[in-house]
């Protein structure tokens, strides 16, 4: 009779059931609800952008003007979010603070992504450079972000630029580690091997074969960086180690209110709400991008959404 034949050669005409099932697990009702969350998040972020660009012109008063007679007023028609201990309008200061949060958040994200990805791509092809660089990365990542930033700022002084620099260091280090890991595992993959075998030069392999495949990881990580940088800037300013006190930042407005918690609840409440909602929107957008971009994760998440 026939021998037991090699399974691989036999009737591999259709993908296995498990693969097909994965594609089937998509429920449209759940998807539209997810899209709603994404849409709302995007609108919030766009509103934030709008405030960041036009905040100072939208402010109804001079946000730096003090008004000792009207200090510590609760929310009213004149002062929607009330006034602070100097009689400054909290609403105006909050929307002006948006600019700082977005400036720091996006600067840190862009700087760390560009430098991190470039360095990771380069060192993944030079062993010695990689060994040296990764020791630095490990070293920097051994510190909690904000502690390192605090120490740095205490040395170089509080300013917007210095906050961006301080936060970019750890953000860049973690980007390098993440992207390098992804590149190294990709380098072993068949299609990169194939590209090397036919003599495609290394820079070309990096740009056209490796980079497109890690774009989704980079984008998802970028949203995470954005959320953490916005939070970190607020934390630093809250501690008084971020931007100088006269620059309105959500963090230092909250800190002001903290000192007057008995009578000035409104001072901290509103900027905190802005901060939380912004970070939440960014996190949700990141989640959503991950679901859409990563086909592997997509199947997984849709299954869990059942």
């Amino acid at each position: 009779m026939t021998s037991i034949s090699d399974p691989q050669t036999e009737w591999e005409l259709a993908p296995p059931m498990s693969v097909r099932l994965r594609g089937m697990l998509r429920s449209t009702a759940k998807a539209s609800k997810r899209d709603m969350v994404l849409a709302v998040s995007i609108i919030i972020l766009l509103l934030g952008f709008f405030l960041a660009l036009f905040g100072p012109t939208l402010a109804r008063t001079d946000y730096e003007r003090t008004d000792p007679i009207n200090r510590m007023q609760g929310p009213s028609l004149d002062h929607w979010f009330g006034t602070d201990n100097w009689g400054r309008d909290v609403f105006d200061r909050t929307i002006v603070g948006t600019r700082l949060s977005f400036l720091v958040g996006f600067s840190v994200t862009i700087i760390s992504t560009v430098i991190g990805v470039t360095v990771a791509l380069i060192i993944s092809y030079f062993r010695i450079l990689d060994a040296i660089m990764m020791r630095f990365v490990d070293g920097f990542l051994a510190f909690p972000t904000i502690l390192l930033a605090l120490a740095l700022i205490s040395l170089i002084g509080p300013s917007i630029g210095n906050v961006i620099i301080a936060l970019s260091i750890t953000a860049t280090a973690s980007k390098i580690r993440l992207v390098r890991g992804a590149v190294l595992s990709l380098r072993e993959s068949t299609y990169v091997e194939a590209a090397r075998a036919v003599g495609v030069p290394v820079p070309r392999i990096l740009l056209f074969h490796v980079l497109p495949n890690i774009v989704s990881i980079i984008i998802v990580q970028a949203t995470f960086t954005l959320a953490s940088a916005i939070l970190a800037e607020a934390s630093l300013s809250f501690l008084g180690a971020g931007v100088p006190e006269y620059v309105p930042s959500w963090g230092n407005i909250i800190a002001t209110g903290q000192g007057y918690i008995q009578v000035g609840f409104h001072i901290s409440f509103f900027p905190g709400l802005f901060l939380t909602v912004t970070v939440l929107a960014v996190v949700l957008i990141g989640d959503s991008i991950r679901d859409h971009l990563d086909p592997k994760l997509r199947g997984r998440l849709k299954t869990t959404a059942q």
């Binding site: 020791r135 630095f136 490990d138 070293g139 920097f140 051994a142 510190f143 909690p144 972000t145 904000i146 502690l147 390192l148 605090l150 120490a151 740095l152 205490s154 040395l155 170089i156 002084g157 959320a227 939070l231 607020a234 934390s235 809250f238 501690l239 008084g240 180690a241 909250i254 209110g257 903290q258 918690i261 008995q262 609840f265 901290s268 409440f269 905190g272 901060l275 939380t276 970070v279 939440l280 996190v283 949700l284 989640d287 997984r300 299954t303 869990t304 959404a305 059942q306």
Partner: protein, 313 residues
């Protein structure tokens, strides 16, 4: 197993070295003359020179760094510019509040995170699951210092259940101590548990799709046994990773918490040192925190091997 532990240990040594180099270099190359900070405003050039000579600031960089490392190895963290006292001596009384906070938060957040994550996975797709995950995302996005503010306003200012400020050491009685720590512990635990919960849930759901889970069901194992005996341990690795990461996050959280609640711990000490630009203390604390976190990572590496036998070899 021992080989694995030794190997992980050896790997962390260069990291500690690197941490030391970074810490020392930052302060060394940073602007600001330490002698001027020590001497104060009225110092004459002669006094400054004397201070430099006295504290060895005029020696070459590698010598200073080597000296600093050598002292560290002997447990000497240096001397405060400001109080001129040994930093180890200054740190000792600060340990109790921070350690107490740390232990309580790590235990509580792990318990809350794993149990809610497992519950969400158990009831995957249900209303409970969705609500828990909404809370987890909220917990991830909420700034701790703002949550602290809200909680203080509700529970301390308005309800008066807890003191706004006023840390009580364990020596004043355990109940008093725990009571005074309740709000900071809860805030940090809940925020830290959010991420643990999310990861526990997704790790569990991933493992529940594995072939060996089907095998367990084919053996006639009950759902509870499938869940706890077969699915939890294999999913514990990402959970352990997140717990490690959340401990690193706590270091930041504690700086904020101790400032807000006026807890005289290490976090508060760091902020005070930053305000006074007391660089030796900043250096020492950065070094201590980084070393503790490296040790935590080492412990988690060992935990991996305990969880998954495939890692032991």
């Amino acid at each position: 197993m021992w080989r694995y532990i030794a190997q992980r240990f050896l790997v962390s040594i260069p990291v500690i070295l690197m941490v030391g180099i970074i810490t020392f270099t930052l302060v060394y190359v940073g602007p600001g003359d330490p002698a001027a900070i020590i001497a104060g405003d009225e110092a004459t050039p002669e006094i400054l020179e004397a201070i430099r000579e006295d504290l060895g600031f005029n020696r070459p960089f590698p010598v200073q760094m080597g000296d600093w490392f050598w002292n560290l190895l002997q447990g000497d963290l240096g001397t405060s510019y400001f109080s001129r006292r040994e930093i180890t001596e200054l740190i000792t009384p600060r340990l109790q509040p921070t350690l107490s906070l740390g232990i309580q938060v790590v235990v509580l957040s792990t318990l809350i995170g794993i149990s809610t994550g497992m519950l969400a996975a158990w009831k995957a797709g249900s209303r409970l699951d969705r609500n828990l995950m909404v809370l987890a995302v909220l917990g991830f996005a909420t700034p701790g210092f703002w949550l602290a503010f809200l909680v203080i306003w509700v529970f301390a200012v308005n309800l008066g259940w807890f003191p706004v400020l006023g840390y009580k050491p364990i020596q004043d009685g355990l109940i008093q101590h725990l009571h005074s720590m309740f709000l900071p512990v809860m805030i940090n635990s809940i925020l830290a548990s959010a991420f643990i919960s999310r990861i526990t849930r997704s790790a569990m759901l991933e493992v529940l799709r594995e072939d060996y889970i089907r095998t367990a069901r084919a053996k006639g194992a009950s759902e509870l046994s499938v869940f706890i005996r077969h699915a939890f341990r294999p999913s514990a690795i990402p959970v352990a990773t997140v717990i490690g990461a959340s401990i690193a996050g706590l270091a930041t959280g504690f700086v904020l918490t101790e400032t807000i609640f006026a807890i005289p711990g290490l976090g508060r000490m760091l902020i005070d040192a930053i305000v006074r630009r007391d660089y030796p203390i900043i250096q020492a604390l950065l070094m201590v925190v980084a070393t503790v976190l490296i040790a935590v990572n080492l412990l988690i590496d060992i935990l991996y091997a305990y969880i998954d036998p495939r890692i032991r070899y």
